[in-house]
């Protein structure tokens, strides 16, 4: 297992280099002026040249890339052009907020997804299956930003039960697990959980239906095992795949949802990316994308390792 983990870590080096290169190239390919947030369009050419030199945009691309990667290796992702704050601290704060939101959303999505999936799979082709499958299809299909707006209209505007925006009564800086803060989390987390719930439910339903049709289930029943015992075996067999799907979903959610975080003004990575894109804040954009990409890479590794631990039949080459 240790050698497998080490091997995977070594494989990650070219992936990380590739990710950083793609991230740099994509950001610089986009149209627009990188100084648009700090330099009005009527600034003089001399001032523009002075600012380009200050931020290093006058250097060749390969030089800019080298400097950026060199600093990133030391944990310095540069300074935001728009705010002059270190990108690393901006991204870290946003990631912690998104992590909170994604973890809660994944927990909700996983719990309800598994519930609907197991029930639908177990009662295959019954009305329960159809109802649970319909819910899953709705979950996957409904535009989540639209759902977010509807939830805000119902629970914030009409019923005045939950706040529509923000990550706490005084911001996210002093997050606490109390009602004053958690009420800010409910609407974005529920909105965000709908897609993973649908995906997990559909996956688990198919798995359970498939497992129930396998010969070993018939053998278990023939040996006199009751429904509860059979169910336990089905769950154990479906768990690794469900877990893998959950890991992937958590990875997607960790990327933050630009739409959901913007609708709820949740100060996470999606909100940050939105601001960085609109302000053409290249260091912030590059730093955020890089951190999110690395998260995804590490998360995939963690899920693979966990799967191997859970299911000894999986042999990693």
């Amino acid at each position: 297992m240790l050698s497998y983990v080490l091997r995977r870590l070594i494989y990650m080096i070219p992936i990380v280099v590739g990710v950083s290169l793609v991230c740099f190239v994509l950001v610089h390919l986009a149209p627009g002026d990188p100084l648009v947030s700090v330099l009005p369009p009527d600034a003089s050419e001399a001032l523009k040249a002075q600012m380009m030199a200050t931020y290093g945009f006058d250097r060749p691309y390969w030089h800019q890339f080298g400097l950026w990667v060199g600093r990133a290796l030391q944990g310095d992702l540069g300074t935001s052009i728009a705010t002059s704050r270190p990108v690393a601290s901006e991204v870290l704060r946003a990631v912690s907020n998104t992590l909170l939101l994604a973890a809660v959303a994944t927990a909700i999505g996983f719990a309800f997804g598994c519930l609907f999936g197991f029930v639908a799979g177990y009662f295959h082709d019954s009305w329960i299956d159809k109802a649970a499958s319909a819910l899953a299809v709705v979950g996957v299909s409904v535009p989540h930003y639209w759902l977010g707006m509807v939830l805000v209209i119902v629970f914030s505007v009409e019923l005045n039960l939950l706040p529509p925006t923000g990550a706490g009564p005084d911001g996210s800086g002093d997050w606490a697990w109390n009602w004053a803060h958690m009420r800010h989390l409910i609407l974005p987390a529920v909105t965000m959980s709908v897609i993973p719930m649908g995906i997990i439910a559909r996956t688990v339903r198919a798995l359970v239906a498939d497992i129930l049709g396998q010969e070993f289930v018939g053998a278990l029943r023939a040996k006199g095992l009751g429904d509860r015992g059979v169910f336990r075996h089905v769950v154990k067999n479906a768990a690794p795949t469900a877990l893998a799907v959950m890991g992937l979903q958590l990875g997607y959610l960790l990327g933050g949802s630009i739409l959901i975080e913007t609708v709820f003004s949740w100060p996470g990575t999606g909100f940050l990316l939105n601001a960085a894109i609109f302000q053409r804040d290249l260091p912030l954009l590059q730093g955020t994308i890089l951190v999110l990409a690395l998260f995804f890479v590490f998360l995939n590794l963690a899920v693979d390792v966990l799967q191997t631990g859970l299911d000894p039949r999986i042999q990693r080459g």
Binding site: P31, G32, A43, M51, S156, N160, P163, T165, S265
Partner: protein
């Protein structure tokens, strides 16, 4: 064993103590007047003195916390917002050398940290953006500041309460431009610098850290004092009860700024009571906002939503009859209805009654018959329409609703024999091309561009679009419009140092611009904002700015 009655008594007494201890601070908090504002920006505008995020930055983290040498008068809803004394009580250009200005400073003004405002502070604040050798020079503040006062070169102390400012060329616009230079406290910055750990040796890095600390705990001379910054989430200011201008001494105890960039989220925050004030509510929610008892404020802003024409060879807009026809062909009342009333019909770059109006001979109005007549004279008809191409964006700062507005124009201009091709490009690309000009490949062969602009000062409102010295890439004369006559009018305005004479010169310039019509003037924004009825004393001037200081809350 305790008797049940005694237990109950103890329980009730304990409950009463708990309840009262909980209610006392709540009552104290309830008495505090807190105004919560949902802004359109995605981040808190910079708080260290020179805000970013355009004029929304000046509006919320500039004017409330800082003063400049000159101010805009924001006290009246009618008439144009004019220049008034701020931290300077009077000023004049030197009659012998028009590049030198003497400013007399207001005595007795203190920064929030208690240090005095004086000539040293003015020199220090000029140096922070212009003197690269100054220890507190901050490159990050240069871009948003220097371009708004392009001719300011240096400052010199004459005595404690008098300062001399020098410009690179005679420039009568300087007092107007100085509304953008906010005075931060040198003493407070020095304290922040002293607090930077000694192991940070590089002076530039030390200065950078001092400015970062200053941004979190700013100090100006304004009616509000910034006390808490949560980046990208909230900024809190408290009343400066010792503010020097009694009329602007705040009645509201605390102001909380929240960045809510999404219009529906802002509207929901207002309707659910999470904030008391939102900028730019979602247009389709205006009726609901009003029906729930909120107040909607709007007023004509110095903002122009135009098509800026190209005058390069082969452009269809070279013919003045065609430019006039386009301006006469748009029914702006109908467009206003389309926008739910959230626009004002323009008569030029500035409205009638403005000191720079100048009574132009060409009246911008809806006159379909006259427009068709002009187009027929120019050789066009329904069978032989004039092909024009305009570039625009799907969104962007100040662009209002560019797609439906441009589609409306496309339809309206068809009546007058125009065949309009619209090309929608990304906002940053459109904005960048504004400097590149109509001849650049990024203009995609368009002969008009649709970038909105602020018309607060003469340079921003007029000069950059009509001076031949502002041809791309120097400034925003995208279409290469201009001639000797216009250049002379610009020079006259720049060198008229009496305020009335300067305004008269600008009025002559504006009149000629309207007559020459290098734009299709379509709309002025009205800066809609919705406020809770408990906010009183709200005055929305004809400005991009609004003064929170005189407001109160029930």
């Amino acid at each position: 064993m305790t008797r049940p009655a005694a237990s109950w008594r103890r329980f009730l007494m304990a409950s009463a103590v708990c309840l009262s201890s909980a209610l006392v601070p709540m009552a104290a908090k309830a008495q505090e007047k807190v105004l919560r504002i949902g802004m359109t920006s995605a981040d808190i505008p910079r708080t260290l003195g020179q805000p970013d995020q355009g004029f929304e930055g000046n509006r919320f983290t500039g004017i409330p916390m800082y003063d400049a040498l000159t101010h805009w008068d924001l006290s009246k809803p009618d008439g144009p917002s004019v220049l008034i004394p701020g931290l300077a009580t009077e000023w004049a250009a030197d009659a012998a050398d028009r590049t030198k200005w003497v400013f007399k400073l207001r005595p007795g003004v203190k920064f929030h940290d208690g240090s005095p405002f004086n000539a040293d502070a003015v020199v220090w604040n000029v140096q922070k953006v212009l003197d690269q050798s100054a220890p507190h020079f901050d490159q990050s503040q240069v871009g948003v500041t220097v371009s708004r006062m392009p001719t300011l070169k240096a400052a010199r102390k004459i005595d404690d309460m008098t300062v001399e400012l020098t410009t690179s060329q005679p420039d009568s616009f300087l007092p107007i431009n100085l509304t953008n230079l906010f005075m931060a406290s040198p003493a407070h910055w020095a304290a922040k610098l002293a607090a930077v750990p000694a192991d940070v040796a590089d002076p530039k890095e030390r200065a950078k850290r001092a400015w970062a600390a200053f941004a979190e705990d700013p100090s100006g001379t304004g009616p509000f004092d910034g006390i808490r910054l949560v980046p990208r989430e909230r900024f809190e200011m408290v009343a400066n009860k010792a503010y020097w201008d009694e009329k602007r001494r705040p009645k509201i105890d605390r102001v909380v700024l929240l960045p809510l960039p999404e219009a529906n989220a802002r509207t929901a925050a207002l309707l659910s009571g999470q904030v008391d004030w939102i900028e730019a509510p979602a247009p389709d929610a205006v009726a609901q906002i009003k029906s729930r008892g909120f107040s909607l404020y709007m007023n004509e802003q110095p903002h122009v939503w135009p098509w800026q024409f190209s005058f390069v060879e082969g452009s269809p807009w070279l013919d003045k009859r065609v430019r006039h026809a386009a301006n006469l062909c748009v029914n702006r009342d109908e467009l206003k209805e389309l926008l739910g009333g959230l626009m004002a019909a323009p008569k030029g770059t500035v409205p009638p009654g403005h000191p720079w109006w100048g009574n132009p001979k060409f009246d911008i109005r809806y006159d379909l018959a006259e427009a068709k007549k002009l187009m027929t004279e120019a050789g066009y008809s329904a069978q032989k329409p004039l092909k024009v191409k305009t570039i625009t964006s799907a969104s962007g700062s100040g662009q209002m609703q560019p797609i439906p507005m441009n589609e409306y124009l496309q339809q309206a201009l068809k009546e007058c024999f125009f065949d309009v091709e619209l090309e929608v490009i990304e906002w940053n690309a459109l904005f960048t091309n504004w400097r590149e000009g109509a001849k650049h490949a990024n203009a995609r062969g368009a002969n008009a561009t649709n970038v909105t602009f602020a018309a607060m000062d003469p340079f921003f409102a007029m000069v950059r679009f009509v001076s031949t010295q502002a041809f791309p890439p120097t400034s925003n004369n995208w279409g290469y419009f201009g001639n000797d006559e216009i250049d002379k009018l610009v020079a006259d305005a720049r060198t008229s140092f009496d305020a009335a004479e300067r305004d008269a010169a600008l009025a002559r310039l504006h009149a000629r611009i309207v007559e020459e019509a290098p734009f299709l003037w379509v709309a002025h924004d009205v800066g809609p904002r919705a406020l809770s009825a408990k906010v009183k004393g709200v005055v929305q001037p004809k400005s991009w700015f609004i003064d929170i200081a005189p407001m109160s809350m029930d």
